[in-house]
């Protein structure tokens, strides 16, 4: 009893000192808690379904950010990784009867190999040329899919996949926890030394080379990592929808990912995730006026880009927090002095 009380006290101290000091951390903690506690509040199948799909696309948007936001390798064909993940998982599950929880990691491996395959020819390309080239790859793959209807199901896709779990709540927890874990890993990667090199490659590739860093290796690494996470998203999507169709490879899919990331703020990881959690449910809830659906979506995105060119989340973060001019630690906007170095905040 006493030991448990001590642990609780310690836990409370950590929470108060590390989480409650910053509104952004409180929001993240609430986000985790609400997602994990959702089935206790409501078990509405429609709501559960939307959250699961949102989680899948959050992984996808964050993986785009890892490649294009951080290393600056503009990828306008991110649906390629998603589609490869979905199709690989579907083919393994339907044709070879491999259980879903093996299929999804294998699908991720397939997407990593695709990342290598795409990354190598793209190494020499920059800016617009890179964007246009990457856009072509999912279209090429779609051509291959249509050319081999025996294996890929052609325009109908592969249907009849197994669900990962047969219970609705079980599925919910598998998807949401996977999303939270993968997104935390992506955020950790970008926060590490590797993340600094990714940032630097975006800023000035030649200067990174002159610092003795093998930029080829790091760019390929970014392609592979991004492919890995997007491949998992694709595999999870296929098993949830129980179908892997050509829609996963569509150009509109690639562009939606870019819109999510730009809306939320690129090179942040949490930005695109938040953007998906705002925009995807919004798009679902305006289904009541189907004729205005895309129009509302476009207006919201345009307004955000017009008034918050850095994206919604960095803008909000700057409003609720400010950076100490001396030690660069973030503080609540209401504080007069820095919580670490007590410098006066302006």
């Amino acid at each position: 009893m006493v030991a448990a009380g001590l642990y609780l006290k310690r836990f409370y101290t950590v929470v108060r000192g590390e989480v409650l000091v910053l509104p952004s951390r409180v929001i993240v903690a609430l986000f985790f808690l609400v997602l994990l506690g959702m089935p206790l509040i409501s078990q509405d199948p429609y709501l559960i379904r939307i959250i699961v799909l949102t989680s899948i696309f959050a992984i996808l948007a964050a993986s785009w950010d890892l490649l294009s936001g951080f290393t600056g390798q503009m990828n306008f064909g991110h649906a390629l990784f998603f589609g490869v993940g979905a199709y690989a998982s579907a083919m393994l599950n339907v044709h070879l009867q491999i259980p879903p929880w093996v299929c999804v990691p294998l699908a991720a491996v397939a997407a990593v190999l695709t990342g290598l395959l795409v990354g190598i020819p793209c190494l020499r390309l920059k800016h617009t040329y890179l964007a246009l080239t990457t856009m072509a790859f999912p279209i090429i793959l779609m051509g291959i899919v249509f050319a081999l209807p025996d294996i890929t199901g052609g325009e109908l896709g592969i249907s009849g996949l197994q669900r990962i779990s047969n219970s609705m709540i079980g599925n919910y927890y598998i998807y949401v926890v996977t999303m939270l874990v993968l997104c935390t890993i992506m955020w950790k990667i970008t926060d590490s030394h590797t993340g600094i090199i990714f940032h630097a490659i975006r800023e000035d590739e030649l200067a990174v080379k002159a610092s003795g860093i093998n930029t080829t290796r790091y760019k390929l690494m970014a392609f592979c990592l991004s492919g890995f996470f997007a491949g998992i998203a694709g595999g999870l999507y296929a098993h949830y929808m129980r179908i892997a169709g050509p829609s996963t490879l569509e150009v509109s899919m690639s562009f939606t990912v870019v819109i999510w990331a730009v809306f939320g703020g690129i090179a942040t990881i949490y930005g695109p995730i938040a953007a998906v959690f705002i925009l995807f449910p919004l798009l679902e809830f305006v289904r009541f006026w189907p004729e205005y659906r895309m129009l509302i979506f476009a207006v919201v995105v345009l307004l955000i880009l017009l008034y918050m060119p850095e994206g919604l989340i960095p803008w909000v973060r700057d409003k609720i927090e400010k950076e100490c001019p001396r030690c660069k630690i973030r503080n609540v906007a209401t504080r007069k002095t820095c919580r670490i170095c007590t410098a006066v905040l302006d």
Binding site: I196, A200, E203, L206, K209, A210
Partner: protein, 256 residues
Amino acid sequence: MAVPFLEVEALTKSFGGLRAVDNIQFRMENKEILGLIGPNGAGKTTLLRLITGILKPDSGSVRFQGKQLVGLKTWDIVNMGVACTFQNMRPFRRLPIIANVMVSCLSPRSMRRGEWVKVVESKAMDALEFAGISDMALEKASTLSQGDLKRLEVARAIATEPDLLLLDEPFGGLSPAETDLMAKSIRRLHKGGRFGRLHSEGPAMIIVEHKLQQLMKIVDRIIVLNFGTLLAEGKPDDVVNNPAVIEAYLGQGGGQ
């Protein structure tokens, strides 16, 4: 015969019809400081870029400690111990200054003694300390002044712990006071030693510079380029009194 430290042989590079570097050859000894001067467009920067592999030469060879550098990737050359700075500074503007230097500290050469990854930050800090901008370590690089950017370039280069340091106009755009500081840093670096976690063997240097007065105080030997060719080579005093050099700089009859 001992292997020369740096040996450049018959190096040629053309841009279209312009021969930017034309059949240049010279040798350099370990720990030597070599000045590289010449009028604008003489091919000085191109020569440095050929040595570091940023540009590929049309023909010729560059040997560093007996190893051929032509054909190697820039990062391989840097990891062999040749570091360079850029004339038009190229910082990672949106990154904090310390992160700029950490990129160099993460290179295989800088980590070659099996240092812990944890050490990277403090090593980057020592490099900034040496360059004299450690007080601004957390600021974004875009906030730096011209002179501090030069210092950042130097910090980034020495963080790879080079044996040969190529400095492209280290005094360019600096005030007289800043120039003196920079010259002092260069001399201190050349003496070698330990600066915190940063180890300097006292690298040999090639310095491209227009401020001759300052340059003369530092260098052991000077090479003069003009229109991509080697015009003169020798001790600083001999070179400045060389009629051909005076003519190249000031035009015909300029010496009188």
